[in-house]
Assembly symmetry: D2
Homo-oligomer: 348 residues x 4
Amino acid sequence: MQVSSGQTWTVGVTGATGYAGGEVCRLLAGHPHLRLAGVHANTSAGRRLGELQPHLTPYADMVVQPSDAASLAGYDVVVLALPHGESAAIAAQLPDDVLVIDCGADHRLNDPAAWARWYGGEHAGHWPYGLPELPGQREQLATARRIAVPGCYPTSVTLAMAPALDHRLVTPDIVVVAASGTSGAGKSAKTHLLGSEVMGSASAYGVGGVHRHTPEMVQNLSQAAGTNVTVSFTPTLVPMSRGILATCSAPLAPGVDAATARAAYAAAYDDEPFVHLLPEGQWPTTAAVLGANTVQLQLAVDPDAGRLVVVAAVDNLTKGTAGAALQCANLALGLPETTGLPLVGVAP
Amino acid sequence: MQVSSGQTWTVGVTGATGYAGGEVCRLLAGHPHLRLAGVHANTSAGRRLGELQPHLTPYADMVVQPSDAASLAGYDVVVLALPHGESAAIAAQLPDDVLVIDCGADHRLNDPAAWARWYGGEHAGHWPYGLPELPGQREQLATARRIAVPGCYPTSVTLAMAPALDHRLVTPDIVVVAASGTSGAGKSAKTHLLGSEVMGSASAYGVGGVHRHTPEMVQNLSQAAGTNVTVSFTPTLVPMSRGILATCSAPLAPGVDAATARAAYAAAYDDEPFVHLLPEGQWPTTAAVLGANTVQLQLAVDPDAGRLVVVAAVDNLTKGTAGAALQCANLALGLPETTGLPLVGVAP
Amino acid sequence: MQVSSGQTWTVGVTGATGYAGGEVCRLLAGHPHLRLAGVHANTSAGRRLGELQPHLTPYADMVVQPSDAASLAGYDVVVLALPHGESAAIAAQLPDDVLVIDCGADHRLNDPAAWARWYGGEHAGHWPYGLPELPGQREQLATARRIAVPGCYPTSVTLAMAPALDHRLVTPDIVVVAASGTSGAGKSAKTHLLGSEVMGSASAYGVGGVHRHTPEMVQNLSQAAGTNVTVSFTPTLVPMSRGILATCSAPLAPGVDAATARAAYAAAYDDEPFVHLLPEGQWPTTAAVLGANTVQLQLAVDPDAGRLVVVAAVDNLTKGTAGAALQCANLALGLPETTGLPLVGVAP
Amino acid sequence: MQVSSGQTWTVGVTGATGYAGGEVCRLLAGHPHLRLAGVHANTSAGRRLGELQPHLTPYADMVVQPSDAASLAGYDVVVLALPHGESAAIAAQLPDDVLVIDCGADHRLNDPAAWARWYGGEHAGHWPYGLPELPGQREQLATARRIAVPGCYPTSVTLAMAPALDHRLVTPDIVVVAASGTSGAGKSAKTHLLGSEVMGSASAYGVGGVHRHTPEMVQNLSQAAGTNVTVSFTPTLVPMSRGILATCSAPLAPGVDAATARAAYAAAYDDEPFVHLLPEGQWPTTAAVLGANTVQLQLAVDPDAGRLVVVAAVDNLTKGTAGAALQCANLALGLPETTGLPLVGVAP
């Protein structure tokens, strides 16, 4: 399929007043073939978008519309940036040929039992998983009309550890500690997320394997490993708005050295447009990927501790959510995968 | 002049390893007609750009070249992001038909005496001033081949107060206090700019009318007023990387009320693509313009104190420097002025 | 009066779960003669203080009690850190010999008409004003049993400009732009105070003379000037938890030069334990006074603009609120004024 | 030994112009029996301390003296806050009865081979290790006249994992990822530590077991375990000035559950004045211990991953360095261990 230079698809975004939805709108402003045609939200219907998202200057005068299937009808593409549990009902009422991209959790897990354990209630079913960098995934996404965008933590952790498991560099017991900016916690006003609380402070939460992104990591990494993996995942909150720095490690398999490990990662990612294995000696920083659809990776072998350590930096709102959504839309619409997606971080 | 969709100009950037030069490169990555063809710097020649500017992923493998006129020959456009005092000598050796854009101070001041007082030494002469929003300036820039980009503080302060002076809303005694992010102080390692020093701290510097951007503000605002103005300017450093929030005020002229003032600003800026007078009740935030070539403005009349107060937010590196450089390049090359320039801030 | 080394007074703090009340508790932990005997709050009664104020480790197991006069009976000293409008009713029910210190606004303004204009409703009457550095104020506070602690902005601005007005260094038209940390906005969860919103962003609010601290500044500075002053006050929010940096200026009176100005400030503050006029060339930073009851001041004369510029740094929660409360308590209880109050900032 | 209320010891601090030395001075300002009698530094001799450490207001007029043994003679206590490799020569020239406390690394490692591998050169010998919370350590410190203060990372990690190893809750393969504020990297001006670089960014460094604090952790935890342990340690830099959040985990030993684990930690720390095992459900934050000599700990058992996870928060400059130095001084001088040490964090 050939896309003509003037062709555009209309996009409706719901949850547009939140952080993930706002980021979808921001990226659409730079996309040559996708046009933001409507903004929707559960609350705030009737207000100017500019009041709620003052950075979205070109869209300031758009009026927020309700977030129901009727209001969302008529777009070529619908992006759902809603709390989990709200996507399935809307998607079911949209025509099959509308491209629906869910930034929420509803359709990420394959296993209904996992859904029931971690989220509760009945599973809405799983959709093609929007991480094109996984083997075979691009092909699936090219024909999909329903796509589940990965969680921000799983994106970073999966990209960091899948090659190690795929190439049997490590045994399948993964330990992850990830530092996240506060936007990952959303835009609801909560005391512990106030600026006064988070500036100058690092804190842990969801410790002990209870964070809901854990089963998604386990699912992805078990597929990569071809066996069940365990993931000990500890998220921490650090004083920045955006960004995830995931430090991942696992016991080295016998005979694996730094060169072997590096070669496996190079093989996995050298052709990937959005995943950058840094030159030796350079370590990822979240600032370098801020606002970009880019992942920075680096790895080290620790012979004393007998572990492979891989560090990944992503912007939780861009490659971690909204950028992935548009990357998948590009694939599903037959556009070059990188169309309209920033590769350069906003630094310093 | 009509620009065909495939036409490109090559751009060489010197000072590309610093903050202003890095931002020029970042913006070039999103520009459809300008292509970053070479990166240069006073030091670091021979190193990979990726080591020094890890956010410039697509340019990571470019090798830094020396910053002299010979090395800078052959580009269609040369952007100089150098310390003041270094531009004139290089520009003099570049052909007249090369578009040279100076992000430094050398060619901003019209008055050699002002140059001598504030910078010392002989004045290199002034170039067309790169603030297209000033009356008559666009026309001048359209034919220019040498352009002096304004300082970041003068950009915010001039846009904030020129309409008030032009419309005689105030008497010409301006008081400005501006909060700036730390990137305005550059990338040289200095103790007082360490993260440990600046996080959690606000501080004043250059107090009492001694900051070198003062004469540039006086020059611009005197032109707008048609008379000599005074500017009391106090810059402060606040804990963020980017952004300027300039709070400007002056005594109200007799009979001026809020409606009059608002009408004058609307008249000045309603057709400007990059200057946004916010709706009443909404105040500028630097986050809303982060990474964007946008200025947010708001004003208030204080009848008790008898003053007009205008607040402007800009990103010092984007509209305050690199974005302005490309905006001017667009004009000088016959491109639509907004080509390739982000209007949306990177928030949250 | 002589205080024996073992003498202690019991203190009850209401609003102890908020930022101001929490800071009172923090400072009490270092005070040799004041003992935190009870913590109270409008909400949260029955909860462990440690859940709500995790930094108050030694008091973690204290249980929050209700905030009413009956619950607050029996303490030697009661500190009210409540929203405005709530102090008067409680204070009226406490015995006259209990030392009651109000960190809120209820009893700061002398003029009932000013109260009605700025806060609305009936004025509760004014109490001795807790800024001992003002002429004659110490004597009044020594015998007071009801004390109104100044607002954080007025503390910084009054100390910055009172000597200039008192010594007729300037004409009485003051312009103030103050950068404040977010804790000044309190601990209520509001979207615009989320960490994601405030980190990386400076913003203005309450522009145009509408901030409620304005009449308190006018009152204090008019007293210092012996005439009515005007104050153009613009507060701004910058990305830090604590601290105010107030940049204040006014037109120089004829014949005033830097030496005259400096001498006036030295005369005013050389004997003050908490106000530090910095050596020439050194400018205040809020980090240097973080957590301390110290004010840093510096001044400059701008002959071009014809203005005196004075910059003050205070910690809004310490010298701006809770430290001032204990400084006043020391005076009222016959203790040395500096007892138990930190002079050293927590930096870096 | 009984200390009379008026007894004081004089203290000389070298490295007083750096972050660790400055923190020693700050804490001395609140100590009733230790008096800062002289400040010394390798460079800056002859300058006012106030220029270099503007937060140390009461000491602003002290003049910095040279950092050599002759200049440091005559104090009762000498605190060395110098780069590693500089302490031994000075200490050797000070009389044996002077209490010398080294905040640097020179005397922490027991094994000369470990010193040679990690620091290079000849080992200066080890001194009693200044972590009183380790079994038997208090007794040793009570009679010591030479004390090696632990590194900031080892303090947090040792306190976090020693009980688990001592009680055989885990097998001895520890994984640590620690988020640190930038003050741990010192006050030397380096580009990657500029505010512009660190604000808004998280980054990893010293990955793969190469950080010099690793052998100190291995030493401490091997002692606690009674066997050799491995430690995979990854330090990360996050945008705050102070604080370490260490997330530590290890494989659960058979039969260990949450209650067993909690009981072991309660037994280890219930009587410790500076180590606080938080109530269940509350997680450490570095803000809660900012400026305090307090450690906050919490733990969780992850049955899916089969790991015990322990999170510790300390202020790297206080309990991580200068507070530990004074805690040890208290012990060595026969003072109550908590004398003059803040327990309350400076929050928000």
